[in-house]
Every structure is written in structure tokens, then in C-alpha cells.
């Protein structure tokens, strides 16, 4: 029953002798390795030989790890992105609110500075809304007769004249803006002292300086202040800046375009100036 590979006749050493020899070799190696660390070279060369195999063995696991890691990373990144988007929206809202506050704060500071002038004492009011009618050029304030307002009082913003109280209700009032076509404001040119009248240009947000003869010294960039001669406005409130001076052959007067200095369409807090006598009453 001998298999093809089975040795029929034992040549050389018997199995037991070979066993003993190998065991002795093994014992020698154990001794060499554990006592004298003499086989580190063999270990190193084996490591060198089996290196590719170990890499090959680890490759599928590493790939699986990589794929799993990729998927988790993807999910984590998506979650992170959503969180960041939400955070960004919140921060945007906060920034807008802060900008709003900063603007309002600056406005208030300028108003407070204005308040230090003794002839500019008044009542602070908030703008409720701007008139829907574009040509009416009116604002509605949240103060009225109860705060001692009456028609005709000047209204200033932080940067200049806004208009004049035209109607007063119990707790609100209407302001006719300087840009209203029908509102005349006596002014003088800061640079020359030349007096004149300013009225709304009829177009939104613009003013014109009327009835100035062609020889008047007016330039672009000139600042117009209230002159105070009508006793409605205190003198020296900034009103407008000249933006364009043009002559025409048919008209004896100059055509002078100005822009109001006050933030007529921006300001949300304005000041209604009370006459000094009215203030002394209460």
C-alpha cells in the first residue's frame, strides 16, 4: 500500500535520528536567540522577505477601512456643512442687527451733539413711516400734541434739516420734508453768506436753490445752511450741498441742483426743535 511518494527504503538517517538532530538544532537556536540575541540578523532578513506578503495581507483591510472612513467622513462633512450653513445664517442675522445698532448709535450720538446747542433744544421722535405718496414727501413721527409739538416746528436729523411739522395729532405728527416742492426754506451759502430760498425739486430727494441771478457766486460743493431770517428755523442748520450749477439762455436765473444733507430717507430718529420759550413753560 505504499503511496508513490513513500520511501520504500530509508536512505540516510532514520526519522528518530533526524528528529533528535533537528531538536538539538532547535535548542541551539533557542539558546542563541534568547540568551545571546544572536539571531537578530535572521529575524531582520525574514522581515525583509515577508514584507510584501504582510502588505498584501493588510491591503484588503486597509482598503475596507479607507472606504468606511471615506463614507463616515462624507457623512460627517455633510453634517458639518449643514451645521455651518445654519450657523452662518444666524451670524449673518446677528451682524445685520449689530450694524443696525451701530448705525443707530452713531445717529443718536450726532443727535446728542446737536442737542448741546442751546437754541436747538427739542423732542426726540422716531419715524413711524414715510408717506406712501411719493410726491407728498411726508414723514410720520411718533410724537404729537401730547409732547408739545405744533405745526411749523423744524425737524432735524443728525446731519441736517429734514423738514417742518405740518400736522399734529395727539400722539403723532406729520412732517413735510424739505424736498417737498411747496416747502420753501430760507438758506444762505456758507462760503459767501449769500441768502436764498431752497425748495424741493419735485424729483425725489433733490432740492433746488431758486431765484439766484446768473451773477451769483455759487459753486458745486457749496454748503447751504438755514439763515434763520424767517424765525421758523434756527440759523446754521445744514440743509443741502450744491451738486450742479447750470445756466440757461431763456431763464434769467441759475438752475442750481442740491442734495439734502440730512438722511431724509435714512434717519429713523429725528429731533423736533422746540422754541426756547415753549420749553420754559412746563
Amino acid at each position: 500500500m505504499a503511496a508513490s511518494g513513500q520511501p520504500m527504503f530509508v536512505r540516510g538517517l532514520g526519522a528518530t535520528s533526524r528528529l533528535i538532530i533537528w531538536l538539538l538544532v532547535g535548542l541551539a537556536m533557542v539558546a542563541l536567540d534568547s540568551r545571546y540575541h544572536a539571531l537578530e540578523g535572521l529575524r531582520a532578513s525574514l522581515a525583509l522577505v515577508t514584507q510584501p506578503l504582510r502588505h498584501a495581507a493588510r491591503a484588503p483591510f486597509e482598503m475596507a477601512d479607507e472606504i468606511a472612513g471615506f463614507l463616515t467622513r462624507h457623512r460627517a462633512l455633510q453634517r458639518e456643512r449643514d451645521a455651518l450653513l445654519q450657523e452662518r445664517a444666524e451670524l449673518r442675522a446677528e451682524i445685520n442687527a449689530t450694524r443696525d445698532l451701530v448705525r443707530e448709535y452713531a445717529e443718536l450720538r450726532r443727535l446728542a451733539a446737536l442737542d448741546s446747542r442751546p437754541d436747538l433744544h427739542g423732542v426726540t421722535a422716531s419715524v413711524l413711516y414715510q408717506g406712501q405718496d411719493w410726491f407728498a414727501q411726508r414723514l410720520t413721527l411718533d410724537r404729537g400734541g401730547r409732547s408739545a409739538l405744533r405745526a411749523g416746528l423744524p425737524v432735524v436729523g443728525a446731519d441736517g434739516l429734514i423738514g417742518q411739522v405740518s400736522r399734529v395729532y395727539v400722539s403723532s405728527s406729520e412732517v413735510t420734508l424739505v424736498t417737498n416742492r411747496d416747502l420753501l426754506t430760507p438758506v444762505f451759502i456758507e462760503r459767501t453768506g449769500q441768502r436764498g430760498l431752497v425748495a424741493g425739486a419735485g424729483r425725489s430727494g433733490l432740492l433746488e436753490l431758486r431765484h439766484m441771478t446768473v451773477r451769483t457766486d455759487v459753486r458745486e460743493g457749496d454748503i447751504l445752511l438755514t439763515s434763520g431770517i424767517d424765525r421758523v428755523y434756527p440759523a446754521g442748520i445744514p440743509v443741502a450741498r450744491v451738486t450742479r450749477v447750470s445756466r440757461s439762455t431763456t431763464n434769467p436765473y441759475l438752475r442750481i441742483d442740491c442734495v439734502p444733507l440730512a438722511g431724509i430717507e435714512r434717519d429713523r430718529i429725528v429731533r423736533v426743535l422746540l422754541p426756547v420759550v415753549a420749553e420754559e413753560k412746563p
Partner: protein
Amino acid sequence: MVVDKVARHEAGSWRSLAMALLLALWLQSLPWSGIGLLLRPDFLLLLVLYGSLHHPHRVGMGWAFALGLLSDFNDGVVFGQHAMAYVAGAYAMHLLRLRLLQFDPLRQAIQLLPVFLMVQLGVLLIGWLAVTPPLGWGIVLPAISTTVLWYGVASLIQLWHGKGMRRE
């Protein structure tokens, strides 16, 4: 012709042995961990014993020793530990060979359990004597798993070769 056929057969079986060696080394160096590491069969031992059962003129004690050294290296233990145990295993196979060849894989596996156990205990003993006290009885678990694996591998190869290698 016969010689040529035999030679080709020889070459083929050398190649399959080399493939088996590569496979065993690869399996051995997979990143086993936890319970898998504890139960990891000794693939190289399996290869040695299977080789010395079916190809005794090729896989002898020298190969057993060499593969034992590889196994030592792989486990990071002192050189000679597995080598001596493998040689002892190959010797046991040499004694049991004619007997084992008459059995089917299941019975082979059952009879080989003591051999595997002996090899593991030999590794344990040599390690103990040479370097460190053992880390518990977990070291004999591979004997059992290698037995199970023997059954699997031997059955598979038997199926593969039809009636089995013992009739060869």
C-alpha cells in the same frame, strides 16, 4: 513517457505546495485580533503536517523546521520554539502516516487533535523554558481550531481530487 508524466506531476505538486505556503503565510499574517487571534488556526503547522502526510519525500523535518522558524518570526517569539514543535509534529506524522491515510478527513482530524495539541504544548513548553511563563491556556485553543481546519481542508482537497489522495 511515464517519467515525463511523473516529472510533470512532481512540478505541479511543487507549484501547489508553494502556492499553499504562500497562502498559509498570507493567512498567518492577516491582521487577526481579539477572539479571532485566540482561535486562529496554525496554518503553517497545517501545511507542514498535510505535506508530511501526503508528500513525505518533499516535506520533511527540514521543511518543518524552516516553516517553524517562519512561524516563530511571525509570532515574534524566540527562534526555535515553533520550529522544534513542528519537527516533533512532522515526526509524529511520520509515525502515524500509514494509519492516517486509511481514514476519511473527519477521522483523520479526530486522530490529529492530540498531535496538534502536542505541538501547541511543545511550543508552550519551549517558550516557558526558554523565555517567559505562558499567558494562560488560550495557547492550546489553536490546536482545536487547527483540527477543525484539518477536517475542512482535507475534505475539500479530497472532493477536489475525486476519490482522494490516499488512493494515489
